[in-house]
């Protein structure tokens, strides 16, 4: 089961998802009063342990108190971040263990021995913190290294402790086990132990550099200050340790300790910087929300997420745009990672895949991101939820626009229909009303002509009758232009035959007698008239062919001439045709290469 399939199979995240607000609001277990109490205790501890030193080495002791407090504070602050409890412990323990190194200041009892054996343990905890951050757990290799480091340190230092004799405080009541008192052996063991610890420091530096090199994106952003400070602190510890070995156990190299202490301040500060950086990343979400929550398309959301999550390989796939069932779509996604992103790393097999759900629980999109983002669940989850909101809004807006469009479309169809009905009504009125009256008058005039004995009167009646004849012809022309009776009465075929008969060039007609709905008939008829008029006016054709095919769901009309071609969709007549036809959801296709005739295909749905 690959990572994508596995993640896809998980409906709810198995890790605890904490809202980002909790990271900064300071509520819950790690509230500010509790932090203050813990810090106060650590302060007392750090001040009291090296108490006698305050008199001689005030600066060094003060720096060490600050370092201890900073470690504790950083640990307490980081404890609020999800998955960083272990790290918090490591940092707090570093802070607490730090003063152990100076407990020998008392110069009495077993304190120098404790200082010798446990004085370096804070470095193990520090290394733990460095190797762990920001992962929720240590890798096996790192854990082994830490165990080896701690074991080496405790064993060699204990060995030094049991072989050494208290030399620097002669006369004071200092206790040492003195199991094998041998100054030379103690010195050798001390040097060997130091070399081992120094090697561990070098290994730690190597491990840290490797972590930084392999870290990507957000990881690198939050890791860099920590690793830099960690390397500096390690180097400082090695140097100060070397000083200690060189000078010997009799006089402490205060300057080296002070320098180390100052460098060590950088380490908790680096963790704090990283913490703030993570908090700032969470703040990015605020920007993201402002950017996209008003509703945004998949493209905008993709860009916003890439910026916010600092992952240029991140992709957002709109599920509503995919065909078929979701798993099939995802299968396709995996085969075709978003490699089109310029400068993006090739997406590996292991990608973080998260479904974006609508409020009703419907999956609406998929976010595919770098797996390192899994360590920034808080950030990532908020980003996903924000995207869900934006996508949902965008989809709702699109649906609303679609509905509006459909409404406009329907109203246009109604207007066309109304215009069509109106034309038919006017034509009928002209035909059945005015025309019949004129014909009646003409009949009466004919009767008058026949009856009248007066030649002058007959001539006058006949003149009037001629006038009526002209009026009648004009009226007929007018009515025909408004809506040809033949179209209503006999349909497209008969109407187009009449049109063809009036044209000054031969028209080959192939039109079935099948009747189609009146609006379709009318649209096809007027489109044909417009097209044929264009042929006569512009095409210089010697022949035109008009074919109508009535299918089950649409009427197709093809008008082909052998003229000069070169007709464009912007021609007034052709634009008219396109308008008429599109009002009924139909299409006009123009094929008119210069010199090779013109072919128009009009399709109108009818069904």
């Amino acid at each position: 089961m690959n990572a994508i399939a596995m993640r896809a199979a998980i409906s709810s995240p198995p890790w605890p998802v904490r809202p980002s607000g909790q990271l900064t609001a300071g509520v819950g277990r790690y509230s500010w009063p509790r932090i203050a109490v813990v810090l106060a205790l650590v302060a007392v501890w750090a001040v009291v342990l090296p108490w006698p030193d305050w008199a001689h080495w005030t600066a060094l002791t003060a720096v060490n108190v600050v370092v201890a407090l900073l470690f504790a504070l950083t640990g307490l602050l980081l404890a609020r971040e999800p998955g960083q409890r272990g790290l918090a412990w490591a940092l707090v323990l570093t802070g607490i263990c730090r003063p152990l190194d100076y407990i020998d200041a008392w110069g009495v009892g077993p304190f120098p021995f404790y200082a010798l054996v446990f004085g370096g343990i804070d470095r193990v905890f520090g290394a733990w913190a460095l190797l762990r951050y920001p992962n929720p757990s240590l890798s096996r290799g790192h854990r082994r290294f830490l165990i080896a480091f701690a074991a080496w340190m405790l064993v060699t230092r204990t060995l030094v402790g049991v072989t050494a004799t208290p030399q620097w405080a002669a006369g004071a009541p200092v206790w040492m086990p003195e199991l094998l008192p041998d100054v030379r052996l103690a010195t050798v063991l001390s040097i060997v132990g130091y070399i081992g610890e120094g090697l561990c420091g070098v290994v730690l530096i190597v491990l840290l550099v490797r972590r930084l090199v392999s870290a990507r994106r957000l990881d690198r952003v939050v890791l860099t200050p920590v690793v830099v400070a960690g390397i500096a602190a390690t180097v400082a510890a090695i140097v100060s340790g070397a000083g200690q070995q060189e000078v010997g156990a009799s006089s402490a190299p205060v300057v080296a300790y002070l320098a180390e202490g100052l460098v060590d301040i950088a380490l908790p500060l680096a963790f704090l910087v990283a913490f703030v950086q993570r908090a700032l990343l969470i703040r990015n979400i605020t920007w993201l929300v402002a950017e996209i929550s008003g509703g945004a398309g998949v493209d905008v959301i993709r860009d916003a997420l890439r910026t916010t999550l600092q992952d240029p390989t991140l992709d957002v796939v709109d599920l509503s745009a995919l065909d078929g069932p979701v798993p099939a779509g995802l299968g396709g996604l995996q085969e075709e990672p978003p490699s089109a992103v310029p400068g993006a790393e090739p997406a590996g097999q292991d990608r973080l895949v998260e479904f974006v759900h609508s409020e009703s629980g419907e999956p609406i999109a998929v976010i595919i991101a770098d797996p390192s983002l899994d360590r920034y669940r808080g950030l990532f989850d908020v980003a996903v939820r924000t995207s869900a909101l934006a996508l949902q809004t965008a989809q709702a807006q699109a649906a609303a626009a679609q509905a509006k469009l459909a409404e406009v479309h329907a109203s246009r169809a109604r207007i066309i229909e109304a215009a069509h009905a109106e034309r038919q009504r006017i034509e009928r009125d002209l035909h059945d009303g005015v025309q019949q009256r004129i014909l009646g008058l003409a009949a009466q005039l004919s009767a008058a002509v026949a009856k009248s004995g007066d030649p002058a009167a007959r001539a006058a009646f006949a003149g009037a009758r001629e006038g009526l004849k002209e009026i009648l012809a004009e009226l007929r022309e007018l009515a025909h232009g408004i809506y040809p009776t033949v179209l209503t009465q006999s349909g497209l075929a008969a109407a187009l035959e009449e049109v063809a008969d009036r044209l000054p060039l031969p028209v080959r007609l192939d039109v079935p007698a099948t009747r189609v709905p009146p609006p379709v008939e009318a649209a096809a008829y007027f489109a044909a008239c417009e097209a044929l008029a264009n042929v006569v006016k512009h095409a210089s054709a010697s022949e035109v062919t008009l074919t109508v095919t009535v299918g089950e769901s649409e009427v197709a009309m093809e008008i082909t001439d052998n003229g000069v071609g070169g007709a464009g969709p912007r021609g007034h007549g052709l634009a008219n045709i396109a308008d008429r036809v599109s009002a009924l959801d139909g299409h006009l296709v123009i094929d008119s290469p210069p010199g090779a005739g013109t072919r128009l295909v009009v399709t109108i749905p009818c069904g």
Binding site: Q436, R437, G440, A443, A447, L509
Partner: protein, 217 residues
């Protein structure tokens, strides 16, 4: 001549009646629809011919043709003349299919020439035919390809006059040729249209129908 008329426009009906009576005809029935005409005709002495509007209520499409077909079934010898406000080949063709003889199809404009109108009525009353010249002209337009292409110019002219309802003699007068020449043309037309060569009224109708069908167009 005894006539019955049916037209749903009262004004036209009354004017037509006036005109026909002026021309010496006796109009015994003046109806506003086909059914009304059929009912009224039974009440009076049988007319020689009826004048029907093609577009009447209730359908306002081809009531006239339906009524003509019913009239022909009831009264085989009655002349039937359909008047239409506009000339449509499709109607002419359907009318001749339904009522092959003693029938005519003219534009209402013919009321302006009462002589021609009365002549057409006489022809249909005698079992002849009368087809609107405007329609015939369109049918004979040389642009129309089809079966009629086999006819030469003169034959087309003769066929057109036949369609208008002229007799051989009438055609001879019209074309300034002898009746024998006309007869030869008519025989040739029948031949080319695949009809038997007897100069019967039936064959004349078939020839005109061939014309109306546009030679297969």
């Amino acid at each position: 001549m005894r006539l019955a008329i049916a037209d749903d426009s009262g004004i036209f009906r009354d004017s037509l009646r006036l005109l026909l009576e002026t021309a010496g005809a006796e109009v015994t029935v003046s109806a506003a629809s086909g059914p009304e005409l059929l009912a009224a005709i039974r009440q009076v002495e049988l007319p020689d011919a009826v004048v029907l509007d093609i577009r009447m209520r209730p359908s306002l499409t081809d009531e006239g043709i339906t009524t003509a077909a019913e009239l022909r079934q009831l009264y085989p010898d009655m002349g039937i003349l359909l008047l239409s406000a506009h000339a449509e080949i499709g109607y002419a063709s359907r009318l001749l299919e339904a009522v092959p003889a003693g029938v005519g199809y003219l534009l209402k404009d013919n009321v302006m020439n009462v002589t021609d109108l009365m002549a057409a009525l006489s022809r249909v009353a005698e079992g002849g035919m009368a087809l609107e010249p405007a329609i015939v002209q369109r049918l004979l337009s040389p642009r129309k390809p089809g079966k009629l292409d086999t006819l030469n110019e003169r034959e087309r002219g003769v066929l057109g006059l036949m369609a208008e309802g002229r007799s051989n003699l009438g055609i001879a007068h019209e074309l300034f040729v002898s009746p024998r020449t006309v007869e030869a043309h008519v025989t040739s037309i029948f031949n080319k249209l695949g009809l038997d060569q007897s100069n019967t009224e039936n064959n004349r109708v078939h020839a005109v129908l061939a014309l109306l069908r546009g030679g297969g167009r």
